[in-house]
């Protein structure tokens, strides 16, 4: 097949210093390619110390111009590193960038093999494969799509708020969608923030208010995204505004309804189950927006058909029992997901007794307990609501760094544990024990805080707690919670009786993270966190163009990092918006209508709904803008009527033959 079109191919072998040359006979390889691959159209084969260097690139550009190369193969590192480099070089020399192929002889050969002869042979095969493939490459043009300047941000925690403000302040419109009645997220529940101990509400509230009043921000709380379609530049999103049963135009947020409502309900969202709210409620004083929501499941009127106390007392007649869920359609160009985290359910670690032993608390419960605006107005007391603990044990890594639950480190627990220790110490003077596996106090001013807490006299026991029990073995254990632990520094088992235990429950992906990921077309890691495009160099972008992630949705992190990511994500979005249009990789599938018989095999295969069936012509068709280029339909078409650019059947089969070229030699000889 290849013989018929006479392409002029140039092969360039990179030494990568000794990275490749150390294990592959690069000179021999280049010579071999020049001689043995002539029949494929190789007209020049060179090797050079660093092909990616400007000199290396110039070498290629010069050959393209002077030798009139029509195809280029660079045998160097992984295409994920330098494909762009060499394609740009080709472009500069007037050759279509997609006529360049990289043969990975570093990651796939020199770095993973030791025997030079063997490595060189494999390198030859890899190069032969690339040459055969590149001949079948066709020139491609990037597809440009316009960017809608509006942005959707999902999740009104600190990360989402930050992103929203950055974009809004830059003068572009933002839709901020929040599931709960108010924005603020977990941070609004906290009392103090480490390491500076400034009050969480004090620093968060101004941001919330700013977001709530910003002319460029449309706040949609008590709302959820129910459908997403489209692609970078022009997403179409449907948001469900759950009925508040309160007319936001009329409501002044006076909270009289809440005051008059006779129905008390345990608030397991904001108060973490430690306090009560009414059936119609504003989750907390500084809530943004200030409008209350009615919780239909618990409202006496919705259950019994009578009551309507709220309606009676509302001065502005804002209560509307007939309000329905609304569905709002939005068009946006980019989307930032800042959906946050769920707390690990400490009951799963049954040997710590949470849910069984009253005076075992979770970290979130303690935040409310120590919060001046919390159910005990900041008094740190036992479950009975009055007794102040004389001794408190704080257990780290609950559900984290534990093969039985989550393998990862939840990042915040160490500092949080220290914060709790300080607060308990300061407010109750109780003896505080911290039970830790390792103390992790990286980042600015964190370790100093550790020192401070140490000096305050908090006791630290290094070891994973085996059990928290109320079974006393001796008199002085009676009526206490006994923490059984191996003190790995003292090298012995200890039983430490305390009045109160606080469990540093780890952070977990949202229970519905996978579903949300699917909805927005991004993937989750094995742990369930949203996967970033590159763990180091691209932490807020995702594999799906136009979808960004920020805050704990991407992995456990503290407030500073969440804020930083929020800002970073919006920076990426702004860059897209300002470019006005975005170039898409031209790796797309297309249907040959003459060959397509409309069997509709492919119709159900595209998760991006890029394939449509044209009833009139009885053929299937692919929308290039929606197509993500996976090639599944290409591989599935029974008639071979669908072809895919960049990875066409011809290219791949040619590459197969090329890779096996060496095996075929003896047969031909």
């Amino acid at each position: 097949m290849s013989e018929k079109k006479q392409e002029r191919v140039g092969v360039y072998v990179c030494h990568c210093g000794t990275n490749i040359a150390g294990t592959v006979d690069v000179v021999g390889l280049a010579r071999w390619a020049g001689e043995k691959l002539k029949h494929l159209g190789v007209v020049v084969a060179r090797e050079y110390k660093f092909m990616c260097s400007s000199l290396g690139q110039e070498l290629i550009e010069k050959d393209i111009k002077e030798l009139g190369l029509t195809r280029v193969v660079v045998a160097a590192c992984s295409p994920h590193l330098h494909e762009k480099t060499f394609r740009t070089a080709a472009k500069n020399a007037g050759l279509n960038p997609y006529l360049v192929e990289l043969a990975s002889i570093r990651e796939q050969v020199s770095w993973v093999h030791t025997d030079k002869a063997v490595a060189t042979e494999k390198a030859k095969a890899v190069v032969a494969g690339a040459v055969s493939r590149v001949i079948e490459n066709v020139p491609l043009e990037e597809i440009k799509v316009p960017i809608n300047p509006d942005t959707l941000i999902v999740g009104g925690g600190i990360a989402g708020i930050q992103s929203a403000l950055e974009i809004a302040n830059a003068g572009f419109h933002v839709y901020l969608v929040e599931r709960e009645p108010s924005i603020g997220g977990h941070m609004a529940q906290f009392d103090k923030t480490f390491p500076t101990l400034d009050c969480s509400a004090c620093i968060l509230t101004p941001r919330m208010v700013e977001a709530g009043t910003h002319p460029n921000i449309t706040l949609m709380t008590w709302s959820e995204v129910v459908n997403v379609s489209g692609y970078v530049g022009s997403f179409h999103v449907t948001v469900k505004k759950k009925a508040r049963f309160v007319n936001e135009e009329l409501c002044t947020g006076c909270a009289i309804c809440q005051e008059k409502c006779p129905k008390k309900v345990i608030d397991d969202v904001f108060e973490a189950g430690l306090g009560y709210r009414k059936a119609i409620y504003i989750p907390f004083a500084q809530a943004v927006p200030k409008f209350p929501v009615m919780d239909k499941e618990n409202c006496t009127y919705f259950i019994k058909g009578t009551c309507k106390a709220c309606e009676k007392f509302c001065p502005t007649g804002a209560i509307d029992f007939n309000q329905q869920d609304q569905y709002v359609d939005l068009d946006v160009g980019n989307i930032i997901l800042a959906t946050g985290y769920d707390l690990f359910d400490a009951r799963r670690v049954s040997n710590y007794g949470y849910g069984r032993l009253p005076n075992v608390f979770t970290n979130l419960e303690f935040e409310r307990l120590s919060n001046a605006a919390g159910p005990t107005s900041g008094n740190i007391v036992l479950r009975d609501g009055k007794t102040t603990p004389k001794s408190v044990g704080i257990i780290h890594c609950v559900g984290s760094r534990d093969k039985n639950f989550n393998n990862y480190c939840s990042v915040i627990c160490c500092m949080q544990g220290l914060k709790f220790a300080h607060l308990v110490h300061e407010r109750t003077g109780a003896t505080v024990y911290n039970f830790y596996i390792d103390m992790r106090t990286a980042y600015k001013a964190y370790d100093e805080f550790y020192q401070r807490v140490l000096e305050e006299g908090t006791l630290f026991v290094r070891g994973k707690v085996a059990e928290v029990t109320d079974v006393a073995r001796s008199e002085h254990e009676k009526g206490k919670l006994i923490i059984q632990v191996e003190d790995t520094l003292a090298g012995k088992q200890r039983r430490i009786p305390v009045d109160m235990v606080i469990l540093s429950s780890g952070l977990q992906p949202r229970h519905d993270a996978k579903a949300v990921g699917k909805q927005f077309g991004i993937s989750c890691s094995t742990d369930g966190w949203f996967t970033e495009k590159h763990p180091k160099l691209d932490p807020v972008a995702t594999m799906t163009e136009g979808i960004y992630i920020a805050g704990c949705a991407q992995g456990p992190k503290d407030i500073p990092s969440s804020v930083a990511q929020g800002a970073a994500a919006s920076a990426r979005v702004l860059d897209k918006i300002l470019q006005k249009e975005v170039a898409l990789e031209p790796i797309k599938a297309s249907v040959d209508h003459d060959k397509c018989s409309g069997c509709r095999i492919c119709n159900g295969l595209c998760p991006f709904n890029a394939i449509a069936f044209i009833e009139d012509d009885q053929v299937s068709d692919i929308n290039p803008a929606l197509c993500q280029g996976c090639g599944t339909c290409v591989a599935a078409c029974p008639a071979g009527a669908i072809s895919g650019t960049g990875f066409s059947d011809e290219q791949i089969m040619a590459q197969i033959d090329g890779l096996l070229f060496l095996n075929l030699l003896p047969v031909e000889a």
């Binding site: 060959k595 018989s597 409309g598 069997c599 509709r600 119709n603 591989a635 008639a639 071979g640 089969m653």
Partner: protein, 330 residues
């Protein structure tokens, strides 16, 4: 035009259905006689190989060659006719892709002979097997030697045109005859070498009247086990219908009659491996994610190899008479 151009038709390893299909063109066959001088057609008239050998190379204008290359006689005649003919047409599924005889490529040629001469279905108590040559008083007689695998025509000689079908539909044959006659009268051009003639470019579904929806296969059924909805796509009903991957041209005879397409027209234009297309498309629309579920559904496909390669085996990548890479160098 003084003498009429010469026409030949030959059958190698085949069933004879192709010849019948030709005669089945009714009065069109007269056009053949009117426009051609039929020089060699073993089924229809008496002629000797030596007569053909005597002709000068390229003196036959058109040869329709049906049947696969099963033994050295087939191979010899294929090469002979190639030499003598201007236009050599691989006529019918056997010559194109091996067809049913090609299924023999699933077994060793010794097994085949053995099966033919010494299984319960054969009464051969003395285990008598044929010999390629044998001495009789009149001298040594020869019978053709069986080749290790059945080859398609183009695996042995260069082929000008391909005409698929088992057998090719008579209306298509008629059309082709028309075309050739027109060409002779200078009213039409011959299609480029290597073209598939007498068939469509798309697949059977194109001509199938059944309604089609998005495909979701929950199970594969055998057609005699179930009540078939006469209006709905068979594949959607779980019947493994080869239509989606099979070249159009037959007016979707089988599906229209309520039987699944078994693929006698072979792969669509440009397809490398017919069976692969069916495998991949069927598998793609199976409605299961768990390996066990999938296997259960696949159990419904009795003999997948036969299902996907009934006609195409000898022409397929893996069971081609010669390995694919050798073929390319031919």
């Amino acid at each position: 035009m003084t003498a009429k151009p010469k026409f030949a038709m030959y059958w190698a390893a085949s069933c004879g259905g192709c010849e019948i299909a030709v005669l089945n063109t009714h009065e069109k066959i007269l056009d053949v006689d009117a426009n051609f001088d039929v020089v060699f057609w073993p089924v229809a008239m008496d002629a000797k190989y030596k007569d053909v050998e005597a002709m000068e190379d390229g003196s036959i204008l058109l040869t329709l060659f049906n049947g696969g290359i099963r033994n050295d006689e087939n191979e010899h005649i294929a090469k002979l006719l190639r030499r003598k003919s201007k236009i050599l047409v691989a006529f019918g599924s056997c010559a194109n892709e091996g067809c049913i005889p090609g299924l023999a490529n699933l077994s060793d040629s010794r097994e085949i002979v053995h099966t033919a001469f010494n299984t319960i279905s054969t009464d051969n108590p003395n285990q008598i097997y044929p010999r390629t040559s044998f001495d009789v008083p009149e001298g040594e007689i020869h019978i053709p030697n069986i080749l290790p695998v059945l080859k398609t025509l183009d695996q042995v000689v260069d082929v000008d045109y391909y005409m698929p079908g088992c057998p090719p539909e008579s209306h298509q044959i008629a059309a082709v005859i028309d075309l050739v006659v027109q060409v002779l009268q200078g009213k039409a051009e011959l299609p480029p070498k290597g073209t598939v003639i007498g068939a469509g470019n798309s697949t059977v579904c194109d001509e199938c009247k059944r309604t089609r929806n998005v495909k979701v296969i929950k199970s594969f059924e055998r057609i005699y086990n179930m009540q078939i909805d006469p209006a709905l796509c068979l594949l959607e009903q779980g019947i493994p219908c080869n239509g989606p991957a099979t070249r159009s041209g037959c007016n979707a005879r089988c599906p229209t009659a309520g039987a699944q397409c078994i693929g006698c027209y072979g792969p669509a234009e440009g397809v490398v491996d017919y069976g692969a297309r069916l495998m991949t498309s069927f598998a793609s629309v199976i409605d299961a994610k768990e390996p066990e579920e999938i296997e259960n559904i696949l159990d419904g496909l009795v003999d997948p190899t036969g299902q996907f390669y009934r006609f195409n085996l000898a022409g397929s990548l893996l069971k081609a008479g010669v390995p694919a890479w050798k073929k390319e160098k031919v």
